[in-house]
C-alpha cells in the first residue's frame, strides 16, 4: 500500500494566544472525497491555509505523497499538486474569466521575461496550449457565456464557479474546496455536486472540501472530519459523523439534526 495522498500529523496553528487548529491528524487517499465540517471559527479554513502553503503550521507535519511540505516554498505547493478555492472569493477581479483561469496555468508554463516580449515560438505555442485547456475547463463548468466578462462584475455565485475553474486549471492532484456552494441555490449546488463527482471520477482528482451544506456533505463525501475549537471531534463515514452527539451539539443543533435525519416532514406532507 502506498502512502496516502495527503497526510496531516498533529498539525497545530496558533495566532498569538489563540489556537485556531489544535493537533489535527487526518489523511486523504487518492480518489477520495473528504469533507471537513465544524462550527464557524473551528479552524477549517486555517487548516486549508496550511495545506495550501498560505500559512506555515506552528507545529505538526503535512505530507503530500510522502513528501514533507514544510520545505516547499508557498508558491511551489501548486507544483506538487495542490489546488484550492477560497471561501471569500480571491479572484483577480479586473481580469476576465479567461484571464483568471489562465493564471491557474501559470506554473505549467515556462516562458521567460525576455521571451515574453516576443510573442513568437515557445511563448506562442505555450499560450495556445494553455488557452486550449482553459477553454475546456470553461466548457466543462458551463460558463461559456461569461467567458470574456470582467470577473469583478459577475454575481457572487458566478464568481465561485470561476474560482473552481481557476483551481482546476492548476491540474491539481488534491483539490481543496472551501465552502464552494455557499451562496448557491439548490440547482446550482446540484451542478457543483456533479462537477465535483466528475472531477473525481473523470480527472482522478482527490477532493478535500469544507462545507456547511450538510446535504451535500452527506451525499457525496466518502469520509467526514468534524472539528470544533480547532480540534477533531470525530472522523468517519458521513452517517456516523452526523449521528455523533458531539457534532450534533456543537454544529448541527438538535433541530437541524432531526430535520436532516428525516428530511422536511412538513414539506413532504405538502408536496403530495
Amino acid at each position: 500500500m502506498s502512502a496516502p495522498l495527503l497526510k496531516l500529523t498533529g498539525v497545530t496553528k496558533r495566532f498569538g494566544g489563540l489556537t485556531a487548529v489544535n493537533e489535527v491528524s487526518t489523511h486523504v487517499d487518492a480518489g477520495e472525497i473528504v469533507s471537513i465540517i465544524g462550527p464557524n471559527g473551528a479552524g477549517k479554513t486555517t487548516l486549508f491555509n496550511m495545506i495550501s502553503g498560505v500559512l506555515p503550521p506552528t507545529e505538526g507535519r503535512i505530507e503530500l505523497e510522502g513528501r514533507d511540505l514544510a520545505r516547499v516554498a508557498p508558491h511551489d505547493y501548486v507544483r506538487h499538486g495542490i489546488g484550492r478555492t477560497f471561501q471569500n472569493l480571491a479572484l483577480f477581479k479586473h481580469g476576465t474569466v479567461v484571464d483568471n483561469i489562465l493564471v491557474g496555468r501559470h506554473w505549467r508554463m515556462k516562458t521567460s521575461l525576455v521571451e515574453a516580449v516576443f510573442h513568437f515560438g515557445r511563448p506562442r505555442r505555450e499560450e495556445i496550449a494553455a488557452r486550449e485547456r482553459a477553454e475546456e475547463i470553461i466548457e466543462f463548468l458551463e460558463i461559456e457565456t461569461i467567458r470574456d466578462k470582467v470577473v469583478g462584475t459577475l454575481s457572487y455565485g458566478q464568481q465561485k464557479r470561476v474560482e473552481l475553474g481557476r483551481a482546476l486549471a492548476t491540474d491539481p492532484k488534491l483539490l481543496l474546496l472551501d465552502e464552494i456552494v455557499a451562496g448557491m441555490n439548490q440547482e446550482e449546488t446540484e451542478d457543483i455536486a456533479r462537477f465535483i463527482l466528475d472531477i473525481r471520477d473523470e480527472l482522478g482528482v482527490s477532493i478535500l472540501m469544507i462545507e456547511h451544506d450538510m446535504h451535500l456533505v452527506m451525499d457525496i463525501s466518502d469520509r467526514v472530519h468534524a472539528l470544533n475549537f480547532g480540534a477533531t471531534i470525530t472522523e468517519g463515514r458521513p452517517a456516523e459523523v452526523q449521528a455523533h452527539p458531539g457534532v450534533i451539539e456543537a454544529y448541527l443543533g438538535a433541530k437541524a439534526a432531526a430535520a436532516r435525519a428525516e428530511p422536511a416532514p412538513l414539506l413532504k406532507a405538502r408536496a403530495g
Binding site: 495550501s52 502553503g53 498560505v54 516554498a73 508557498p74 508558491h75 511551489d76 505547493y77 501548486v78 507544483r79 484550492r84 477560497f86 480571491a90 479572484l91 483577480f92 477581479k93 479586473h94 481580469g95 484571464d99 489562465l102 493564471v103 491557474g104 496555468r105 501559470h106 506554473w107 508554463m109 516562458t111 521575461l113 521571451e115 515574453a116 516580449v117 516576443f118 510573442h119 511563448p123 506562442r124 505555450e126 499560450e127 495556445i128 494553455a130 488557452r131 486550449e132 477553454e135 481557476r166 492548476t170
Partner: protein
C-alpha cells in the same frame, strides 16, 4: 462589447486584435506616424516627438504601477539612470549607440532590483516612498561622481547613428522615437498577454491568491521593476537625445508626479491610456497657450505680468474639470465612445 467574431482556432483568440475596425485604426495611426515628418512643421514635430518619448516612459511606468499595482514615484530616478546609461558610454567612451540604448535599459533595470528588494514587503504609498527615495539617491549619486557623470555640468548628447542611419534632422529623430514607441507598445502588449503579464495583474488584484496559483511574488515583483525601469530608462535616453544634453536638472522631481498623473488621466492599466495620457499632459500646456493667445493682446494687457500664472490656473482647472466629467480617464471616454458606436441605435 464589440460584436463578436466567431473564432476557428485558439490562435485567433490570442491575436492582439480581432476586429477590422481596430486594424483599420492601427493602420491609420501607423500611416500618420510615417507621414508626420513630411507634413508637420518642426514645432509640431518636436511636440509629437516629446509626446512619444513621454508615452514610452508612461508605458514603462504602467507596467509597474498600472499592471502590477506597485505605485512608483521614482520615475525620474530611472529616467536619469537611462539617460546617463546612454550618454556615458556613447558620448564619453564612444560606444555604438545601439549598445548605449541597451545600457540605457539595463542600468536602470539593474538599479531597480536594488530598489525592488527592500520594497518587496511594501505596498501602496509605503512603496511609493522607497521609489521616491531612490530617485533622490540617484540624483545624489550622479552629483557625487563627477568623474563619471561630469557632475552637475552634464553631458552633451549627439544625435546617434543607428545601424548606419544617421539621425540628424528633427524628422529623423521623430522617426527614431516613433520606432521606439511602436516597439515598446508591441513588447508591452506581448508581455501583457503572456503568463508574466497575467502574473502581474494577479499580484495587483490579489497577491495571496496569486501565490497559491504558483506565482512567486518576489520574482514577479522584481520582474515588474526590471521590465518597467528598462522601458523607462529607454525613455530617459531618448529624452536625453531630444534635449541633446543630460543633466539631473533636466529631470525635475515633479516629472515623477506628472508621470503618475499621465496614467491616471489616460486610464490606469492600459497601454493606450498611457499613450493618450502623454498626449494629453504634454499637449495641454500648448493648447492652453494657444487658447490664451487667441484672446489676444487685450487679455494679455489686462493681466499684465500675471498672464502665465493664469495659464497655470487654467491648466489645473482643465485637469480637474476633465476628471469630473471623465473619472475613468481618457480610456473611459474611449470605451464610452465605442459603446455608443457598437450599440447604436439599440442600447442593449
Amino acid at each position: 462589447m464589440r460584436s463578436g467574431f466567431y473564432k476557428q482556432t485558439i490562435a485567433e483568440h490570442l491575436a492582439l486584435t480581432d476586429s477590422w475596425t481596430q486594424r483599420a485604426w492601427i493602420a491609420v495611426a501607423l500611416a500618420a506616424l510615417a507621414t508626420a515628418p513630411f507634413v508637420l512643421d518642426t514645432y509640431l514635430l518636436t511636440l509629437v516627438t516629446l509626446m512619444m518619448i513621454t508615452a514610452v516612459g508612461g508605458i514603462g511606468l504602467n507596467i509597474l504601477t498600472g499592471w502590477t499595482g506597485l505605485i512608483s514615484l521614482g520615475q525620474t530616478g530611472f529616467m536619469v539612470l537611462g539617460a546617463y546609461g546612454y550618454a556615458i558610454p556613447v558620448e564619453t567612451w564612444g560606444w555604438d549607440p545601439l549598445a548605449g540604448f541597451l545600457l540605457a535599459g539595463l542600468v536602470p533595470a539593474a538599479a531597480s532590483v536594488l530598489v525592488g528588494i527592500p520594497s518587496l514587503r511594501l505596498t501602496g504609498l509605503y512603496l511609493a516612498i522607497t521609489t521616491l527615495a531612490s530617485a533622490f539617491i540617484v540624483v545624489h549619486l550622479v552629483l557625487e561622481f563627477p568623474g563619471l557623470t561630469n557632475g552637475a555640468s552634464g553631458i552633451f548628447v549627439n544625435r546617434p547613428t543607428v545601424l548606419g542611419w544617421t539621425v540628424f534632422t528633427d524628422q529623423d529623430l521623430f522617426r527614431l522615437v516613433a520606432i521606439f514607441l511602436v516597439l515598446t507598445i508591441l513588447g508591452a502588449l506581448n508581455l501583457r498577454r503572456s503568463r508574466i503579464g497575467r502574473a502581474w495583474f494577479a499580484i495587483r488584484d490579489k497577491d495571496d491568491a496569486a501565490r497559491v496559483m504558483g506565482v512567486d511574488l518576489r520574482t514577479y515583483k522584481l520582474y515588474a521593476f526590471v521590465a518597467s525601469s528598462f522601458v523607462v530608462g529607454l525613455s530617459g535616453a531618448l529624452y536625453g537625445i531630444f534635449l541633446s544634453f543630460v543633466t539631473v536638472d533636466g529631470f525635475p522631481f515633479l516629472l515623477s508626479i506628472e508621470a503618475l498623473a499621465m496614467l491616471i488621466v489616460g486610464g490606469m492599466g492600459s497601454i493606450a491610456g498611457a499613450v493618450l495620457g502623454a498626449v494629453f499632459l504634454v499637449g495641454l500646456p500648448e493648447v492652453v497657450s494657444m487658447v490664451f493667445s487667441a484672446f489676444g493682446d487685450s487679455a494679455r494687457a489686462l493681466l499684465s505680468t500675471g498672464a502665465h500664472e493664469v495659464k497655470g490656473v487654467l491648466y489645473g482647472l482643465v485637469i480637474i474639470g476633465f476628471l469630473r466629467l471623465q473619472p475613468e480617464g481618457l480610456m473611459g471616454l474611449w470605451r464610452d465612445a465605442q459603446r455608443v458606436w457598437t450599440l447604436w441605435p439599440l442600447r442593449y
